[in-house]
Symmetry: C2
Subunit: 501 residues, 2 copies
């Protein structure tokens, strides 16, 4: 074996110097976002063509020159290849908020680089997380059953809502097996229910867990019809559950959505829970409130989300969407943690530690991966720097601007509102039809001035319509950006409709 | 709805000022690690008792005072509650490397806060990742079948090896269904094989995917016996596969390990692949090289990892363990990406984009979650700042020190080497037995001078022995820390054995 050279680790001076440069670079990037096209005009392969084919073999002889080259490449290669989620004119998908305290917490987490897989491997990671989930639960006025001091209650940070849904689903399966101990064929009887408007991650979780084979597998997956507001029809859910019971199947998992991705529809949770009541044992009720759940922080918005959270077995909300906490940060609460742990716990000898015997929480047993980042720091700094009132102000601005924006759209008879406005999400289209609406979206995004995304929504029965989604909520967005968006929509609509035959 | 106050977002000046303070705080923390107990002496509940029960309602009136309080709490509450994975005397589990370029990349990623779920939502995230996986594949001399330009080939960044194993397993299931299109009961016939020494994440993946019910479920989970080096016995694997075929079952997934967690054992990949040859279609062969795979970067260490990678369907290696890339960063390569995509792809209308039709990679279809961080930046900066030679020097130092350490242990007849040294992992115990070895470990960790973890390894048949693991590889570790570790072990062994009856 060759004599090892001493590893050329950067000095403390290099670390602080370059990290400060990265801070300054980032601050300049963020300050300059208004002058960049929100969606990059890059074509597939553009960046690949400009990156070297092979990695550098030698440690750079001139480290400073290499850092200069890296920062030049950030300017010339990387930044132009991105769609700028932090742009004030990013209205696509849902927002992906970051903030100064969120960024600072990521810096600290990267410096500490601890792994909180078990309580004992970094007790502070676990205990700050327990408390932050209680803090956020209090801020959102969640039912007491989700608090860490309630029997079976508590919360955990997952990577994304997809992970939370998968964890809830395998916990539901574990519970069903536990309640049907003598049925060896239980796994092949478990049925999953969600609405036709639910997020794709629900079906994906069922595919990963092996309950369904493909998105169109109807063997044990029930996509429940929605009402005129695109919310789950609880009567249809109840009928589906009864039919499955009659067929000897086992309703195991219901996923309701507070704020669907397409239109922000709010499933009627109390009635959904009521539809589960006829089934004994009841199916696990998971609530995907990934985006809209953030609005629970404002007392005056809670009514819009309906009652019934106290009927849920688990719930997830993503502060990385709309609560200023850097990606990734999905919060999941449950009232039945023993079913999560039962489904996910394995303790090989090399992970055993004394504190397991005195009730310490090992969050690895609440999630799919083993390792875990120190993400509670983000929540802690965000809540301390903004205060709950500051977070409320953030949400309230967006909801108010969306209401104004909706009123402008309604006054222009070329446009239609395609679904009831939900908080800060407005769905619209041109009355001239799908082709014109699609052309409008293409023109808007090609302008680089804004970035919008689309969906299809049911119009008349059997008729899916192409719809533009306007999701207000980026950290940097101000009212002026919403006004500018409307001006652009009107102008481009004129061009689209003027050029139509 | 109340009139919204303007959200009190921090200014650019506040962002840069506080982020710089976080950099300085972190650099000071890292420089001072030698004076902290490696494992915190905290007891369960210690931190919880010192955190406020409720979140702050108001935005702080004096922002600067609040930041002062936050940094004071980092010093007084958080740092003392952690086990310090970056300590130069952290020898537990496996290392969790970070580095200056890794930290800088995390800063940049937090500033950009883009979501690379699809190619179109941030093309640069996807394309830098494609190239970085090719760079790292070249640095590790992986077979060409895993390159992005090979048919079906390519790599992706997962969160952890647990995620990679789960993705590989559901891809394997998808392939088995594809190859047995007429068998409706295929799911209930699929068998999973791994060694008794494999990581718990393999069994956990099978539980999540629904193939097995519990860690001790023997219905379709085969834990293959190991040989005297604790590597999988390929003859036993072959026999198990044949028995399952004879029983009408379908061998679907074999997970081999290069570098087991307990002792670093290396499964003989070529022979393992050979044992699969008798089965048509062959089971999916996944290689978990999470820790030891990093050593492939050194040409002289490749022989120790054996041949046969070109027989694998997928492979994972964690640069967040031993290649200076901040947690989390697991690299997964496959030669059969269509099976990953087949198992994991769902494209609802709101995620559709034009570039899908021209072959752009959507990495959301290669993973469980939808959203994804910009993690390729870490690999890029680490490889550019260190060069491949710099990374080799890092690995070589640890392997050399481990060999020296092993020789010291062998010269002291109170100690036994419990398994063949694997790269930088040494397993040892006191000849006096389990009780004395356990007492030694407890004294070592209680000293705060070092942090070590343990496992059990088979001694005589049916006899599991308590063993101390010494994993050398933290970023800050120097030879002097290994010498000091050995001095402590000798001194504490004297106390343990002197005080024994």
């Amino acid at each position: 074996m060759p004599e090892p050279a001493p590893p050329p680790h950067p000095s403390r001076d290099e670390l602080t110097r370059i990290a400060r440069r990265a801070i300054d670079w980032g601050a300049e990037y963020l300050a300059g976002l208004e002058s960049r096209p929100v969606q990059t005009p890059a074509r597939p392969g553009d960046l690949l063509a400009r990156l070297p084919a092979s990695p550098p073999e030698a440690t750079p002889g001139d480290i400073n020159a290499e850092w200069d080259a890296i920062f030049r490449d950030l300017d010339e290669l990387i930044a132009p290849s991105l769609t700028h989620w932090q742009s004030p004119s990013f209205f696509a998908f849902f927002p992906c908020n970051h903030s100064a305290p969120g960024i600072v917490a990521e810096v600290l987490s990267a410096m500490l680089n601890v792994n909180g897989m078990s309580w004992s491997t970094a007790p502070g990671v676990t205990e700050l997380e327990i408390r932050m989930l209680d803090w956020m639960g209090e801020a959102l006025a969640l039912p007491a059953c989700f608090r860490s001091d309630a029997p079976g209650g508590g919360g955990v940070i997952q990577s994304t809502a997809s992970d939370a849904t998968l964890v809830a689903l395998v916990a539901a399966r574990h519970r069903a097996r536990r309640l049907h101990p003598d049925d060896d064929t239980i796994d092949s009887k478990l049925c999953v229910y969600t609405s036709t408007q639910a997020h794709s991650s629900v079906v994906k979780a069922a595919m990963v867990a092996g309950l369904v084979r493909a998105p169109d597998d109807t063997l044990r997956l029930r996509l429940i019809e929605t009402d005129s507001t695109l919310a789950m029809d609880p009567d249809a859910l109840g009928a589906s559950i009864r039919a499955d019971l009659d067929a000897g199947l086992v309703p195991a998992f219901v996923c309701a959505t507070l704020g669907t991705t397409s239109s922000g529809a709010i499933d009627p949770l109390e009635a959904v829970a009521g539809a589960c009541d006829g089934c004994a044992p009841r199916p696990w009720l998971h609530v995907d409130a990934a985006w809209a759940g953030a609005a629970l922080i404002c007392p005056e918005l809670r009514a819009a989300l309906g009652d019934g959270l106290d009927r849920a077995d688990s719930l997830c909300i993503n502060p990385h969407k709309w609560l200023l906490t850097n990606f990734d940060c999905d919060l999941m609460w449950t009232r039945a943690s023993s079913d999560l742990v039962g489904a996910l716990s394995i303790t090989p000898e090399y992970l055993r530690h004394e504190s397991q015997d005195c009730g310490a929480v090992d969050y690895r047993d609440w999630q799919i991966p083993l390792g875990r980042r120190f993400r509670a720091l983000k929540l802690w700094l965000v809540m301390r720097r903004y205060g709950i009132e500051g977070l409320r102000a953030h949400i309230r601005s967006h909801v108010r601007w969306a209401a104004e924006f909706e009123s402008w759209v309604r006054e222009d008879d070329r446009f239609e509102i395609s679904a009831p406005r939900s908080l800060s999400l407005v769905c619209l289209r041109l009355g001239a039809g799908d082709g014109a609406t699609r052309a409008l979206l293409e023109r808007m995004n090609a302008s680089g001035e804004v970035y919008l995304s689309h969906t299809t929504l049911p119009g008349a029965p059997g008729d899916e319509r192409f719809v533009i989604r306007v999701a207000i909520g980026a950290t940097q967005t101000e009212r002026v950006h919403v006004e500018r968006l409307w001006g652009l929509l009107r102008a481009e609509a004129g061009r689209v409709l003027g050029s139509a035959p």
